[in-house]
Amino acid sequence: MTFFKWSRTFAISRKEFFHIFRDPFTLGMAFVLPLLVVVIFGYAMEFNQNNVEVSFLDLDRSQSSRSLLEKMSSSNYFRLKQVRSPEEGMKSVKSDNSKAFIYVPPNFDKNIRSDVSEKIQVLIDGTDSAAAGVIQRYLIQITNNMSIEVHSNSRVSSTPFVSRYLFNPELNSKWFSIPGIMVVIMAILCTLLTSLTIAREWEKGSMELLLSTPVKPLEIILGKLFPYATLNIISVVTVYILARLWFDLPFRGSHIVFLFACFIFLAGYLALGLAISVILRQQLTAMQAAMIIGLLPTNLLSGFIFPVENMPQGFQWLASIFPVRWFMIVTRDQFLKGSSLVQLSFPIIAMGVASVILVSIAVVKFKGDLD
């Protein structure tokens, strides 16, 4: 009887490294894909609105209305365009040139000074609800400031809310999306690349040859995990550098805590890919399965785009099964908040449990196949 031997595990790893570094497809996936995805998502996934065209019709032409419009145009958010009639304003929104139309009624100035509540009508293009929400938020911010100023000149003192955003004071959406992209890239790369490796050996018939030697299933699985883990760590570092230097992201957590969480997550998702490979045994089907299993929950149930807390209870439970949901929390936290390991213990333990289960499935299923 022979037992588990590191030397055989390293022999498998070494061979796998040769495969990886001689295959342009794998290398491209590992290095070019993350860069491409980060840059594309970094620029395309823009929730912030800048330089939005807004039409206005000012029938008051007073000091107050002018100061309101001036505040808007100086905010960088809006580019104002004067129209001559309400019809023209509506047309500009319809034709998609302007995202909103602001109508300042006559006597606006007079009314607010005499403390009669006065309304400015704002029509926002609601086709893109996310953009509409952002525009509204900016407008409210500007008008709030305005009313504070107006009232501080008058007798009435008011106590409006003074709010400040923590962790991401400018609500920069890149700060939110790039750590998320990092998680998505890791999840996809892990499952996709490893899903091919065991299936490749079955398909080419080399598995039989491996098995005619005393190599053990665990040695094959571990031997195949190491190179892909290394590959993924390299792409994590690449994305990290890009995020910090190119997109100016802060990193407020501990690199050690983050790396530790990365390893737990990697182990789980690499094992997921291997399990797919072990079960399906064919490269093409394994790759398709990995795309679906790796991509869908990662994009939809991880909180990457849609907050898990807003989902119906059933979906929240479903999301909790996937380690990616927990890793998303840890990654965003480490970049923006910087909580300690103790504060993050729940997501890290949840992720760890899921990863252990996935590794076990891969090894047990593989062993069962061979006996």
């Binding site: 009887m1 022999a11 061979k15 040769f18 039989e208 040859l209 098995l211 005619s212 030697t213 005393p214």
Partner: protein
């Protein structure tokens, strides 16, 4: 017969069952040291399953298997040291060099570095390898690949080598070369276990086992198989006219005819008894030209494995 100590492979009452299905049903045979042993049978006959057991890959349901004096036990690891395995399905990793492939196999078998270098040099000389060890396997021809794969399976100096259709898909010249290597191995005292679909190749085997339905239905030397299956020879018949349907039926039904089978553009007829040919030749000669030939292994194979009149 030689004593058990000279047996490279001993199989007795081997049974392999998958659920209800008996893939291998109580087979027994032995192979001598230095013997080239052919293993034939149609797909699904139990050939591959038997080989997997003898290589230590599959646990037998019942029966005993020993290779080079080692009895199958545990997970079969003790047999894996004694056997080398090479399959037509996979030879070597294309994107690795010759040296890397050999190193990989050596490290899976945990060979000592010095021993490995020595074996590698010896075996590459043995196959008269004349390329660089640093050449990528994908740049080698099919025949050379096959030979290097043979080297890989011989690195740990196994007593028995299993060649599962080793020459499928290589040129006839490469096949001949490969068989001369197999011959040389046997001369060095290695036992070679071969499966193949090329009947002309199988003629090189010292003995042949034929499997059908999980059982060994014949086991003999090629010569012995031919003479036991066709004791009165075979006549190659060539039809003089196109339509021979009537006589074809008559011959197939005749009690003097063992078998009458189409064979390419000819027909092969095996007489049943010593004097059968004299009795039926007046019926045949007006319609066919006839020539007595020596039966080939293909005739044996067709009769035993694929033949319907058995």
């Amino acid at each position: 017969m030689s004593s058990d100590a000279n047996k490279a492979v001993l199989v007795s009452h081997l049974l392999v069952q998958f659920g209800e299905f008996k893939a291998v049903n109580d087979i027994s045979f032995s192979v001598d040291k230095g013997e080239i042993f052919g293993f034939l049978g149609a797909n699904g006959a139990g050939k591959t399953t038997s080989i997997r057991v003898i290589c230590g890959l599959l646990k037998p349901t019942a029966g005993e298997v020993s290779v080079g004096g080692e009895v199958f036990k545990g997970n079969g690891d003790n047999l894996k040291k004694k056997v080398g395995y090479m399959s037509q399905k996979f030879t070597l990793y294309d994107d690795l060099t010759v040296a890397e492939n050999l190193e990989f196999t050596a490290s899976l078998r945990k060979l000592d570095q010095d021993y490995f270098e020595e074996r590698k040099k010896y075996l590459l000389d043995f196959i008269q390898f004349e390329y660089s060890e640093k050449s990528f396997v994908r740049d080698l021809s099919g025949g050379i690949k096959q030979q290097v794969a043979l080297v890989a399976s011989l690195l740990h100096d196994p007593e028995v080598i299993f060649l599962d259709e080793p020459t499928a898909g290589v040129t006839p010249v490469s096949r001949a070369l490969f068989w001369s290597l197999i011959q040389k191995l046997a001369d060095h005292g290695k036992t070679v276990f071969v499966t193949s679909h090329y009947m002309d190749e199988v003629e090189h085997c010292h003995r042949i086992a034929l499997m059908r339905g999980g059982e060994i239905i014949a086991l003999d030397t090629p010569k012995g198989l031919k003479s036991s299956q066709f004791p009165y020879g075979i006549y190659q018949l060539t039809a003089k006219a196109e339509d021979i349907t009537d006589i074809e039926k008559a011959l197939q039904r005749s009690s003097e005819v063992e078998s009458f089978q189409p064979h390419g553009i000819h027909y092969h007829l095996a007489p049943k008894k010593d004097n059968s040919w004299e009795k039926i030749s007046p019926l045949i000669l007006p319609r066919f030209t006839a020539k007595k030939i020596r039966p080939s292994l293909e005739d044996v194979f067709i009769k035993l494995v694929e033949g319907k009149n058995r």
